[in-house]
C-alpha cells in the first residue's frame, strides 16, 4: 500500500490546483466532515506548496501518450491502480487524523475514458454514501467520457476540473495527441450548465459565481439578478444553436482539422494573427456552433439528487502548462479571459513546465521551470478577476509578453500615463484599483474614508496606500505629492529602483531561479 500510494501521489503532484476552497458546509449528523469556504492548508511541501487534499491518481496505467506527462503510455514507469475501497479508506483515515481537508482524485486513462470515469464516479459515490464522508472532494472529469458519467460524479463532488493542458490546438496536437479540444471543452461546458441549473434549483442567486463574473457585474453596474437574467438569455440562444441541426454529430470533430480553420480566433478579429498556425484553443463564435451541440442541455438526474449538496457546488477550475509550447503571455491570458467569460470558471491555474520526459518535442528551459513567468500570469489572472482589467489592456500582439522586471499592473500604468494622474478624492473604486500602490483593501478604505473628509497624502499612507509607488499616479485635491516628471522612462526607472518583493517560491535565498535574460529586455533605454 505504501508503494502504491507513493506512486500514485507522485504521479499526481504536477497538478497544481490543490485548494479546498469554494464551499462552506457544516458537519452533518451521521457523517464525518465539513467544508470551509476559504480553504485550509494542512501542511506545506518541501517546495513550499500548500497541501490541503489527498491528491492522488486513481491509476497511472494510462493508455494515452501525452508527451509532457510522466505517466504516458510510452514511459517505462511502475504502474498501479487503486480500488475504490482503498481510496475511501485512505481518505477517511487521513481525514480523521486531520492530515487533509479532503480528496483530490485525478486519473490516468485505464482501458477507456468511460471505464475510468465510471471508476471515479463509483469511488465518490462509495465515499459519500457508504463511508459517509462530508468533507471536500475535487475530481477530474475525464475528457471523452460520457456526459452521463460526468454528471453522476458531479453530484458527489464539490469541485470538478478538466485540464485544458495547452492553450492552443497545435500545442495539444503536438504534445497530447490523444486529446482534442472538443473532448476537453465539452465537459467544461456541460459542468458549467449543470452548475447553473443546480444553482437555480437550490435558489442560489449568484452566491457561487466566480470572482470574474462579480467584478464584471459591478463594473457594468448591474445587480446579481440583472446579470443573471442576461446570462439566461444568452444561455437560451446557445441552446437554440443546439437545435439548428446543422451540426456534426460524428464526434470526430476534434480530429478532422475543420475546427482549426473555422475556429481560429483570428477570424473574430479579436486576436489578430499572433502565430499563423496556432489557433487559440477556445472557440470563436463560429466554432462554438461546431462543438456545442453535444453539450447536454441540463442535468438529467436532478430529481434523483435534489436536496443533496448540489451539483459541483464549489465550481470548476482548469489548468494550463506554461512554457512547454511557444504561446505568448498574451495568448495565455486571452484564453484565461475567455474561460472566465464563457465558461464561468472559478479558477484557472498555471503550472510552470517541468521537463520530466526526455523528448525532442519538449523544450529545454535552462534555469528550470519558468516560475517567474508563472508568477506574472497569476498576477495578471488576479487583475482580470478582481481588478476589472481586460486581457487586451494588459498585453497586445505587439507587446505579447509580460515584463520580467515589473508587475503587470505597473507595466500597464506606465503604458497608459495619459490616464493619470487620478484624483483620489473623486475617482471611483475601479479607477483607484488601477493605480500602482493601491489594492482592493486600500481602495475600499479610500472610498469609505473620503465620505467624511477630503483625504491628503498622510491619510492615504494610514489607509495602506504604498505612496512611493502611487505618488506618480495620483493627486489629492488637485495636487501631486511633490512635483515630478510624468514621463515613462523616468517613472519606470524610479519604480524599478523600488525592487518588487517577489514571493519566496521564486527567490530562494536571494537567487532568482530563472535567467532573467531569457525574457524581453524591459522597454526603456
Amino acid at each position: 500500500m505504501e508503494e502504491k500510494l507513493s506512486i500514485l501521489a507522485d504521479a499526481a503532484k504536477y497538478d497544481v490546483a490543490c485548494t479546498s476552497s469554494g464551499v462552506d458546509r457544516k458537519g452533518k449528523e451521521g457523517s464525518i466532515g465539513s467544508a470551509f469556504q476559504s480553504g485550509i492548508c494542512h501542511t506545506f511541501t518541501a517546495d513550499g506548496r500548500c497541501v490541503s487534499l489527498l491528491k492522488i491518481l486513481f491509476t497511472n496505467e494510462c493508455i494515452f501518450d501525452c508527451k509532457y506527462c510522466i505517466n504516458r503510455s510510452s514511459n517505462d514507469v511502475k504502474r498501479t491502480t487503486f480500488t475504490p475501497d482503498e481510496v475511501c479508506n485512505l481518505t477517511i483515515e487521513f481525514y480523521r487524523r486531520n492530515y487533509i481537508e479532503g480528496l483530490f482524485l485525478s486519473s490516468g486513462i485505464l482501458h477507456s475514458p468511460n471505464y475510468t470515469m465510471d471508476l471515479i464516479y463509483q469511488t465518490l459515490k462509495k465515499l459519500r454514501c457508504e463511508y459517509h464522508f462530508n468533507g471536500y472532494i475535487h475530481c477530474k472529469a475525464i475528457p471523452g467520457a460520457d456526459p452521463e458519467l460526468i454528471e453522476l460524479a458531479g453530484w458527489y463532488a464539490d469541485r470538478m476540473s478538466v485540464n485544458l493542458e495547452l492553450p492552443t490546438a497545435d500545442g495539444l496536437k503536438n504534445l497530447a495527441p490523444h486529446k482534442s479540444r472538443k473532448n476537453i471543452l465539452n465537459p467544461i461546458r456541460q459542468i458549467q450548465s449543470g452548475i447553473e441549473e443546480s444553482q437555480e434549483l437550490l435558489g442560489m442567486s449568484g452566491g457561487n459565481k466566480g470572482a470574474y463574473w462579480h467584478t464584471r457585474r459591478k463594473l457594468e453596474g448591474k445587480t446579481i439578478e440583472q446579470k443573471r437574467k442576461e446570462d439566461a438569455i444568452r444561455y437560451q440562444s446557445t441552446k437554440r444553436i443546439d437545435n439548428t441541426g446543422q451540426l456534426d454529430n460524428t464526434g470526430k470533430l476534434g480530429n478532422v482539422g475543420k475546427l482549426d480553420n473555422a475556429g481560429n480566433l483570428d477570424n473574430t478579429g479579436k486576436l489578430g494573427t499572433l502565430k499563423k498556425k496556432s489557433s487559440i484553443i477556445l472557440p470563436g463564435e463560429a466554432e462554438e456552433r461546431n462543438w456545442v451541440q453535444s453539450a447536454p442541455t441540463g442535468l438529467s438526474k436532478i430529481s434523483q439528487f435534489a436536496g443533496s449538496r448540489g451539483f459541483v457546488p464549489a465550481g470548476q477550475s482548469t489548468q494550463m502548462i506554461i512554457g512547454a509550447t511557444p504561446e505568448t503571455d498574451f495568448e495565455l491570458i486571452s484564453v484565461t479571459e475567455a474561460l472566465y467569460q464563457k465558461f464561468d470558471l472559478k479558477r484557472v491555474f498555471y503550472s510552470a513546465f517541468i521537463r520530466v520526459n526526455d523528448d525532442s518535442a519538449l523544450p529545454v528551459i535552462p534555469g528550470g521551470p519558468p516560475l517567474l513567468r508563472e508568477h506574472r500570469l497569476y498576477q495578471a489572472d488576479w487583475l482580470l478577476r478582481y481588478y476589472g482589467f481586460m486581457a487586451g489592456e494588459l498585453l497586445t500582439k505587439e507587446r505579447p509578453n509580460f515584463n520580467v522586471y515589473l508587475d503587470p499592473k505597473c507595466n500597464w500604468a506606465l503604458g497608459h500615463l495619459e490616464e493619470f494622474p487620478v484624483e483620489v478624492n473623486k475617482a471611483d473604486y475601479y479607477t483607484l484599483l488601477r493605480v500602482p500602490g493601491i489594492g482592493p483593501k486600500s481602495a475600499g478604505r479610500i472610498v469609505k474614508a473620503r465620505r467624511m473628509a477630503s483625504l491628503n497624502f498622510a491619510d492615504l499612507k494610514k489607509l495602506g496606500v504604498v505612496l512611493k509607488r502611487a505618488l506618480y499616479f495620483i493627486t489629492c485635491d488637485g495636487k501631486m505629492m511633490y512635483p515630478t516628471k510624468i514621463e515613462e522612462n523616468y517613472i519606470t526607472r524610479q519604480l524599478l529602483n523600488l525592487n518588487e518583493a517577489l514571493p519566496k517560491h521564486i527567490t530562494n535565498d536571494g537567487m532568482t531561479y530563472e535567467q532573467l535574460s531569457l525574457f524581453q529586455i524591459p522597454n526603456f533605454s
Partner: protein
Amino acid sequence: MKPVKIVQCVDSVEGIFTAVYDAWAMKYGHEFIKLEVIGMDESLNYELFSEYVLVEPDSLKAEKVAKSIRSKISEQAYELVVKAALSSDVRKADAIYHFLVRGFLMGKKVVDNLSDPYVQQIFEMNRFVGNETHFFKGFLRFVELKNGILLGKMEPKSNIVELLTPHFADRFAAENFMIVDMKRGVASIHQRNQEWFMTALEEEQMEALAAYDTEETEYSVLWKAFFKSVAIKERENYNLQRNQVRLRYRKHMTEFQE
C-alpha cells in the same frame, strides 16, 4: 507624581477580569494603574517605586465585568477582550484594562478608535490569536489510541484549545476526541454526539499523554510516504516551507517527525 500601582493577576480570562474589577474599584486614577499577568514576562524588572497588588481570581467579580462589557460596551468588545486574554502577549492584561476604561466611557464606538494605542494592541492580539487558531485547523494532528479515541496534542503560543474545538466538534461529531495543550495542561474533551467541555489535566495524565509521541501507525507511515511523494524536486525551497510551517509548530506534526 503618584507611584504607579501594579495590579497582578493569574493568566486566565477570570484572573484578568477580576483584576479589572479590583483595579477599577481602587479609584486610584486609571493612568496610574498597570495590569500585569504574573509569571508571563520574566524580563520585567521589579519596579522599585511601584506598589504591587496581587489579585486572586474571583468568579463573581469576573462575571460582573463580563456582564458590564456586554451591556455597556458591546458583544463585539467582549469577544475582542476575551480573545486578547487568550493571547501570549505580555501586554494583554494592561491593554484590556485600558481598552475597557475607554469602552465604558465611549460605548461601542471604542472599536473604531483605531488611533488609540490600546485599541490597536487589542486588535493586534486578536489578529494573532485568530491566525494561530486558523493555522491549527490545518496543523493539528490526531493519533488514534487503542480504544479508538483521537488524541490531538499541540503547543500553541496562544491559549486556543477552546477556540479551536468547535471546528473539530462540528467536523468530527461522531468521534471521541481530545485536544490537549501540552504546555498549559488544558484539554477539550469531545464524546461522540455530545457537547464538548474543557478540563485541566493532572501531571500524571500529562506524562501519560506525552508518551504517545512517536509511535508509528499504519496511517502515519502512509501519510509520511504521501508527504514525501508530493514534493516537486525541481521546485524545492526549504526557506519558503519554513516560512509557512514555523518550526515551533512541527513538533507534533506527523510528517515532520523522524
